[in-house]
Structures are given as C-alpha cells and as structure tokens.
Amino acid sequence: MQIRVLFFASFREMVGTGELVVELPEPASVSDLLLELGGRGEPFDSLPAAPVVAVNRLFASLDTPLEGGDEVAFVPPVAGG
C-alpha cells in the first residue's frame, strides 16, 4: 500500500523534501513506516527514533495502524501563537 509522508519545518530541511510516497507491505503501523524510512540511511536516519506524528491530520501514537492512502506527517515541536 502507498502512504503519503509529509515533513515540516526542521524535519523538512533535515530530509530535504516536504513530501514522499512510501510503499509498505500490509499490515503496517506508523512504527513500520519509521523502520522503512530509517532503513534508507541518510538523511532519513537523522530523524528522531520516536517522532510526533499525525495520521490523516490527527496526532497519533506510533502503533496506529495504517491504511493505503493515509497521510502521515512528521511533526516537530510546535511553535505557533
């Protein structure tokens, strides 16, 4: 299945892109996505091992199951206001 992965702010600069499509075997959770990205080596292995993520625009824990077409965002510490 295909997962749309988004990176923002410092994470975007770290990995050099704001958006990726990642192919994952089913079933998969957010943790599996992290493993897949980490396995790519640089620059993705510089991402935190347990980042804050949002799945389909809601904050979600790393054991959240994923479905094809889901949007997973890596969310650096927020600084609005």
């Binding site: 347990a50 824990s61 790393l62 054991d63 650096p76 510490p77 927020v78 609005g80 206001g81």
Partner: protein, 180 residues
C-alpha cells in the same frame, strides 16, 4: 459559531472586534500575539511561520469548538497568520464576546494555551546580526490528545513513543511568546 482561519493576510483587529460585538455581551476580550524584537539576547528582524495548513485549519476549528463548549460562548474569532512577518505585526488574534468577563477570560486563555501546545505551526526567526533558525517549540501530548478524542480503540500505554525529553521541556519556549 466561532470563525477560525489560518491566513497569509494581515490581521485587521478593528474588523475582528466588530465581528464579535453583540448587544447581549457585557465583555469583549481581545488577545493579540505580536512578533517580538528579541529572543534569547538576539535582535530579531522578523520571522516566518510555516504551517501544516490543512491540519492547522482543522485543529484551530476543533480548539475553538472546545472553548465554545467549555465557556458557553459562540462569539469568537481566532486567526493565526502564516508566512513572513515583521517585528510588531500581529501573528495571532483571539477575540471573544460573552455576557460576563469570566467566560471571556476562560475561553481566550484556553484557546491560546491549546494553540501553543498543539497547533501544527512552526516559527523561523531571522536575526539582525545575520543567521536564522527554527525556534524550539512544544512537543504535543499525543497520548493525552488521543485519549481525549476517544483513543481510536488503541490501548492506553506509557509514552516511550513521543517526546524523547524535548529540549526546553514540555512548556519550554512556546510558552513565553505572544505577550500573554
């Protein structure tokens, strides 16, 4: 119904105040977050707000709805700027109209604290002496937020997942901005 928006446009404070005014209200409370000219001893020239636009829009709507429910008001406008801002410009406005002041203070405070803790927006400061950098922010409390909305059927557990001892702590830098 509250009006909320993530916007590139300059915030017109007078218009926002007119929007929440109602003859039934004895209190109108206005909070402005303003771009400050210094940060940790450095002179700030300006800054850029970046947002996860769709999520920020939905999150701001949700925060406003929560405040309306808790403080029994529906006359509220909450706007957050994105893009490049100069020192002195308004980054955030929260205007609330209520019959009595207590609810207005409660709602306004609730909204700004929730913005600080979970609105997916980031701030890159540009310094007068050159250079720029992302401000350290607040790590959203994912487990708390998941539980609050019913947990999606996930088991409750400890949170080794998130945070990893954020620099500046949970209520770090993010807390002190906005003049409030």
């Amino acid at each position: 119904m509250a009006r909320t928006a993530i916007t590139e446009e300059r915030i017109e404070v007078e218009a926002v105040l007119e929007e929440v005014a109602s003859p039934s209200d004895g209190a109108v409370l206005l909070f402005l977050g303003v771009v400050r000219n210094h940060h940790e001893g450095r002179q700030v020239a300006g800054l850029v707000y970046e947002a996860y636009r769709e999520m920020a829009k939905e999150t701001l709507e949700r925060i406003a709805r929560e405040a309306e429910k808790r403080f029994a008001t529906d006359r509220m406008v909450v706007l957050h700027r994105v893009g490049a801002l100069d020192v002195g410009e308004v980054s955030t406005v929260i205007a609330v109209g209520t019959p009595h002041r207590e609810e207005a203070y409660g709602a306004s405070r609730y909204v700004i604290e929730e913005i600080k803790s979970r609105l997916p927006i980031w701030k890159r400061e540009r310094y007068v002496d050159g250079g720029d950098g992302w401000l350290e922010g607040t790590v959203p409390e994912v487990e708390v937020l998941e539980r609050r909305r019913g947990g999606k059927g996930l088991p409750e557990r400890q949170s080794p997942g998130i945070g990893k001892d954020p620099p500046g702590g949970e209520n770090g830098q993010g807390r002190e901005r906005g003049g409030g």
